[in-house]
């Protein structure tokens, strides 16, 4: 590859008769530059997915390898008739939906507050951004133990001190507790995107609205929210893709319980695959996850593609 690249300098000054040769050489150079990245991604995308599809149509349990065989749609029909699977689907939608709403609303509030100038604003922004860089297992353990522990947790102490009933979060409100942890990690991301978007808002637009006598509420709904709409769409789509695969937060806190209360789609696939070693069933479940993610991905890719068509707005 290096040799073909080195030759490039000479061809630039090549005579007319060599133009065609130079052109094809140029094409090979271009291909050599991009082919490695495209190649590995192509393999990364196709091989595992093809294998998942293959296993989804086979009966295969690692513990009983001798029972391997073609199963047709059996894995799917078992899954679709399994109330646990639909329970997990429902839990996934609740988890994704609730986390989206909380992060977007809090993200907008934080962005609006931290957009205006005040002394120490950059420090405040850094503080508010920090949770996004905390690894999920740390976030989950800190919240679960030191903040939400029913006896020794700080929240329990605060609730008790102000005379409210103490909550055993992970027993009584497991899903709420997990949504709180996820929201804490992802609100900073939403905030940052909204801050970026607010900064691109033309000042004249705001001034004109003020001069027209708009109050703060009108200002928010008529000017700011429409301006943020594209950013909100982007945040919702990107976060959905990440939230669909939320795993570590559940794994380190509830382990899917109590009962099935926090068993989401990713978690049920994990239990099927690595606790029951039922590769066929887990693969069928995995395909559902792929389909769900792709529904979101299609819209996200469209948005990105639209931005690529308007180069002046993009970058």
């Amino acid at each position: 590859m290096a040799a073909s690249l080195q030759g490039q300098g000479g061809t630039a000054v090549a005579g007319r008769g060599l133009a065609k040769k130079a052109w094809s050489r140029q094409r090979w150079t271009m291909l050599a530059l991009i082919a490695p990245a495209v190649g590995v991604l192509l393999v990364w995308m196709i091989v595992p997915l093809a294998m998942t599809i293959y296993y989804a149509f086979h009966r295969y349990n690692v513990l009983y390898p001798e029972r391997f065989g073609f199963a047709g749609f059996r894995n799917f029909s078992l899954l679709l008739n399994d109330p646990m699977f639909w329970g997990a689907m429902g839990k996934t939608l609740i988890l994704v939906g609730a986390s989206l709403i909380v992060t977007v609303v809090l993200g907008i509030i934080l962005a609006l507050v931290l957009e205006k100038d005040f002394p120490g604003r950059s420090i405040a922004r850094l503080m508010a951004l920090a949770p996004f860089f905390v690894m999920p297992v740390v976030a989950a353990l800190v919240w679960k133990n030191m903040l939400m522990h029913p006896v020794y947790g700080l929240l329990s102490w605060i609730l008790g001190t102000i005379g409210l009933p103490v909550v055993d979060w992970f027993q009584n409100w497991p899903m709420t507790a997990i949504v709180i942890i996820i929201a804490w990690q992802w609100t900073p991301f939403a905030m940052l995107v909204f801050l970026t978007s607010l900064q691109s808002m033309p000042e004249e637009q705001k001034e004109a609205a003020w001069l027209d006598g708009a109050n703060a509420v009108q200002m928010f709904f008529k000017i700011i929210l429409p301006h943020l709409s594209r950013a909100i769409t982007a945040v919702v789509m990107i976060e959905s893709i990440f939230f669909l695969s939320i795993f570590a937060e559940i794994f380190t806190t509830t382990g899917g319980g109590p009962g099935q209360a926090t068993t989401t789609l990713s978690y049920i696939i994990y239990t099927r695959a690595f606790l029951e070693w039922n590769v066929g069933s887990a693969s069928a479940g995995g395909l559902f996850a792929v389909i769900l993610a792709n529904i979101v991905a299609i819209f996200l890719i469209r948005l990105v593609a639209r931005n690529m068509q308007n180069p002046e707005k993009f970058g």
Binding site: I34, A37, M146
Partner: protein
């Protein structure tokens, strides 16, 4: 006017403090004794001690987890740059009619949910001897971050005027010289922030590392997850280990906050 300014500052710092508080509480707990960590009501003023941090270091395996995290994060990031820089260079300076499509396709590979492909990857790794092998993690993190790296570098390279490169070409520079002596120096800030983002994402990744490693190749995420079993027993030690694990990454993240949106939203927001 002044008054509302003050009110706004208080509100801003108050909200930011609330967001930061769990991290702060963790840092405080890291300097408590295990008994102080459990005291009820919680205590704010105490004799700070390094005993729990010392204990974390004393566990012989701790340095192994750190080393694994560093190898996985830096190794995958290096591979990412190695593959992404030439591709991004080609796409930003010699775009063809397929370039946009290729970029979009690359981004779309990032949207494959890990649970959808975990089983084949596990089986392949098992067959290839990559289970619980640090090179397995390097490989996965590399593939996971590659689309993002290509995309980010592409947007940075786009900002470099083509004329600079053309001038070099006229002077007879080959592609390798062009990349090394013209493009790389001009793009250092962009390459640095791409590398930082890849490092952060690889460092914090917790799905693949929990599934694919056990003892030999386990990075810090797996080490910290192991505290879940000892629930409620070692809060000070857990906080100490967590503080050491997230400290460097939070600092790196702060350093690159301006570039984060570009990398994570694929230009959907501007």
């Amino acid at each position: 006017m002044k008054r509302s300014h003050l009110g706004h500052a208080v509100l801003g710092h108050g909200l930011a403090f609330l967001m930061f508080f769990p991290i702060l509480w963790m840092i405080i707990t890291a300097f408590k004794t295990e008994i102080d960590a459990f005291s009820m009501p919680p205590i704010l003023f105490f004799e700070p001690t390094l005993s729990s941090l010392n204990e974390v270091f004393a566990r012989g395996s701790y340095s192994k987890f750190v080393t694994n995290s560093i190898i996985a994060a830096l190794g995958s990031t290096l591979l990412c740059l190695l593959f992404a820089i030439p591709a991004a260079y080609q796409m930003s300076f010699f775009p063809s009619k397929r370039t946009n499509g290729t970029l979009l396709w690359m981004i779309s590979t990032k949207m494959m949910p890990a649970v959808g492909v975990i089983i084949p990857i596990y089986l392949i790794f098992q067959a290839a001897g990559l289970l619980d092998h640090i090179m397995g993690l390097v490989l996965i993190f590399f593939l996971m971050n590659l689309p993002l790296a290509v995309w980010m570098l592409y947007t940075y390279f786009k900002e470099i005027p083509n004329e600079i490169l053309e001038a070099a070409r006229v002077d007879g520079a080959g592609i390798v010289e062009e990349l090394r002596f013209i493009l790389l120096p001009a793009a250092i800030p962009g390459i640095a922030s791409t590398a930082l983002l890849c490092t952060i994402l690889a460092w914090n990744e917790s799905f693949w590392s929990l599934q694919l490693t056990a003892s030999n190749a386990a990075p810090l995420t797996v080490f910290i997850a192991s505290f879940k079993a000892a629930e409620g027993m070692f809060w000070a030690k857990m906080s100490g280990a967590s503080m050491l694990a997230i400290g460097p990454i939070v600092l790196l993240g702060w350093a690159m906050q301006r570039h984060l949106v570009r990398g994570l939203t694929f230009g959907a927001v501007k």
